[in-house]
Amino acid sequence: MTISRIVLIAAMTLIGIGLVGILTRRHLIRIALAFTLASTGLNILLVWTGYLEGRNAPIINAELDGLAVDQIVDPLPQALVLTAIVIGVAVSALFIVVGVLTSRVLGTADVRELRKLKW
């Protein structure tokens, strides 16, 4: 049971919890919260793919003797997740704004009432 295995299980469980939340919750804000949970779990999973045991962060400083290739974790997934987190908060905010405006039109925050909006 290494760190790698623990983090993998935690990330996939978090994605599963987020997906179950999106599918089963009825309140608009709770669906947005579950979406944020799933997004966080996905970010952990992405960073996990670059993780190698016993290595250091991808910052080259003077104490790094030997080749950097043998001593750092993969910097590419970290770069992708860095932008993904910032995009995630912007999408979350847009979700909340559209949800609040929809609740003003419908009079309720229950998503089952959305079926009453006709074309």
Binding site: R30, A32, L33, A34, L37, Y51, G54, R55, L82, R104
Partner: protein
């Protein structure tokens, strides 16, 4: 992070992952919306610790400041403005 004894790192990873999953399940189940929002902020905070354990310091700083700060505020704003008649 390789300066710290590896059993301590394993312990931090286990405890952090366990609290993260428990907080996530609890956030879905709890009846009060305010408690759910704060629990999601706590999940982001423990995710930031997991990022640090995986030797990703930039991602940890970003997740801590955005997930546990700005995202929680945005959800609190939404909860205050949602209209349920």
């Amino acid at each position: 992070m390789v300066m710290i004894h590896e059993h301590i790192l394993l312990g931090i990873a286990s405890v952090g992952s366990l609290t993260m999953i428990v907080a996530a399940i609890w956030a879905l189940i709890v009846r009060d919306l305010l408690a759910a929002i704060i629990l999601v902020g706590f999940v982001s905070l423990t995710a930031s610790v997991l990022f640090l354990l995986m030797n990703a310091p930039d991602v940890a700083i970003t997740e801590a400041s955005i997930g546990a700060g700005l995202s929680t505020l945005i959800f609190l704003w939404g909860r205050a403005r949602i209209h349920e008649s």
